[in-house]
């Protein structure tokens, strides 16, 4: 899976939970889920669970704490995929 494909899948996952559509249009590595996209912490859990299903990986507590930006999430997903 290329990074573009991964990013595209991640964008599809987060879209239903995003409150700030403008920030979604300007999505980049630094985009912060809570500060920029205005996803609430409860829906951030849903993002993590959807990521687990989509990529067939397990997000542990340590990974969850880091999954706050698009870039960090892509890194974690890549790392977990590599460990499979």
């Amino acid at each position: 899976m290329t990074q573009e494909e991964l990013l595209s899948k991640l964008k599809t996952i987060i879209t239903p939970y995003v409150q700030n559509e403008k920030a979604l249009g300007e999505l980049n590595e630094e985009t912060d889920f809570i500060k920029d996209l205005e996803i609430n912490s409860a829906n951030l859990v849903d993002v993590a669970l959807d990521v687990e299903d989509e990529f067939d990986i397990e997000i542990d507590n340590e990974a969850m704490e880091k999954m706050l930006t698009v870039g960090a999430s892509v890194s974690i997903i890549e790392q977990k995929l590599a460990e499979k």
């Binding site: 912490s41 409860a42 829906n43 859990v45 993590a48 669970l49 507590n61 969850m64």
Partner: protein, 147 residues
Amino acid sequence: MTKDNIIQELPYSKPFLFVDEIIAVNEHQIKGTYTFREDEYFYQGHFKNNPITPGVILTECMAQIGLASFGIFLIKNSLNQNQLSIAITSSEIDFYKPVLPGEKVSVIADKEYFRFNKLKCKVAMYNANDTLVAKGTIAGMAFQQKK
């Protein structure tokens, strides 16, 4: 964590405690009851001369049993509960029957997931005749309290 001290751990008190008893609880499901007293404060205004338990109060009762009580049991001793605050984060409930003053209801909540301090459950409320009163999905979270 036993059934009795779950209620003691709840962060509610009169007139906003809507749990009398936890009947059964395990890792997958909780069952609890509450009897709406004839003199609950909200019957004074809901409705004028026609007291019926508000849907938001039925939702609150389901959340106090299905999220707060269940969450306390599931978290058990893994976290220091004194440092946690809780919040309902979503609810989608359909209502089927009115609940009148004096009625006893049972709430059953089945865990969908409990991950990263978020608890999501399918909940159902039944009246004393075992007739479905309300049903839906609720979710809530526990947060570390900011010092």
